[in-house]
């Protein structure tokens, strides 16, 4: 447990000290959302209708942008060899790093979303629901993204390849996240059903993704 917390604490400290990466992710999110009204025109009804989905897509893209280096730094400076020679199973190392990624990148992006929503005429009273659903979805994004980061590790800068590989796996999260949001904004159906499915997806990712990512790392290193 000490070793698990050690990795978690170190990765949070590194993420906060290397502040540039978080700035890039937030800036990317801002730019993606900001250019949308420019392309679509100032139709407030249209913007409001699509705002939830657009904010979710922006969140996925910005998270992916920051996760491709999840293992790369540790590989380059030799830490990964030492991490893999410790007593802590690789699965738990992956989990600790994914949790740290969620706390350092996912959470700020989620909290930033309602602010960006202003540009899309997103109804402010629903900001709580937006943050809530995203806070359920974002850990899943970090954990599933870790699989992609592990798979694309030997490619070096695998950013685009990572997006190509992992975006399809985010589709269920996107669908149920936006469905929860729309239902609670007065759309048809109850918000509880998609919210529960979203939660189930997140919990499934938390349990399964560390095994997949650890397997991907082992195959590459021990092969």
């Amino acid at each position: 447990m000490t070793a698990f917390l050690a990795v978690l604490r170190r990765d949070i400290a590194l993420g906060l000290r290397e502040g540039g990466a978080l700035g890039t992710a937030l800036g990317f999110y801002l730019v993606v959302i900001a250019i949308l009204p420019l392309g679509l025109g100032p139709d407030l009804d249209l913007l409001q209708r699509i705002s939830g989905g657009v904010l979710w897509i922006g969140l996925l893209l910005s998270s992916l942008l920051s996760i491709d280096r999840l293992f790369a730094h540790d590989l380059e400076d030799g830490s990964l060899d030492v991490l893999m020679s410790g007593a802590l199973p690789l699965e738990l190392i992956v989990a600790a790093k994914a949790i740290a990624h969620f706390l350092v990148f996912g959470l700020p992006l989620v909290l930033f979303a309602p602010l960006l929503g202003l540009m899309l005429n997103f109804p402010l009273p629903a900001a709580g629901v937006l943050v809530g659903t995203m806070a359920i979805g974002a850990p899943a994004v970090s954990f599933i993204g870790a699989i992609g980061a592990a798979l694309t590790l030997p490619v070096g800068r695998g950013g685009l390849l990572l997006a190509l590989l992992m975006l399809p796996f985010f589709i269920p999260i996107l669908i149920f996240g936006v469905a929860t949001l729309n239902a609670s904004l007065g759309g048809p159906g109850s918000a509880a059903t998609p919210a529960l499915i979203l939660t189930a997806l997140m919990l499934g990712a938390l349990v399964l993704a560390p095994f997949a990512a650890a397997f991907a790392l082992r195959v590459q290193f021990r092969g």
Binding site: A3, G78, G86
Partner: protein
Amino acid sequence: MADEGAPIVSALAVSGLSCHRGGHAVLENVTFRVAAGDVVLLIGPNGVGKTTLLRAIAGLLRLSGGEITLEWRDAVSDPPPTRAFMHVFGPQNALKPTLTVRENLQFWQRFLGEEADAEAIAAALDAFRLDDLADLPVSVLSTGQRRRAGLARLIAVARPLWLLDEPNHGLDAASRRSLGDAVRAHANAGGMALIATHSEIDAGPVRRLQLGVEATDNALGDGVDARAGMLA
């Protein structure tokens, strides 16, 4: 893993070890034994498999044959995983540039040793003359200073088997002496060290393990018989 309950390692035994990289055999049928208190220098030309051997022992590579076992001083009914008894020190230093030297060592203590131990860190800093640099971020250190900060992990966390890959690289004469002293102290305390190097390490009496004794001059290593011969 230096707590009282941990069994004490008396030897590392490698028997019939074979390892393939990219479809060709790098190591074939390597057999040797390192007993407690031994310092073994792995020597041999480039590409003969020194790094591969160290990584294989550390469990970072898949073996295509053979066995790597630790022998215990007392009978152990349920042997813990061997990787918990080894230090891997490779060409990179396993340091985070934005953390200070002390924070890096504290992290490795918590990760590898399960507890932070300020005394061991002080000893490690002292052994590699890092006292003045302890609270500087690693990013501002020179190449040799980083190397020393990386080596300090070996002392900050006590583990019986050191697997060092070119530890001398980038070190000046004084730092090489520090390294030699650290290895000698480790061996005198009953530890083991397996060191791949092209230069000498002044660590008292050492044994030499020559890889590829029947090697041809083929630079790609095709047909190299990497049987290991223990000299001296």
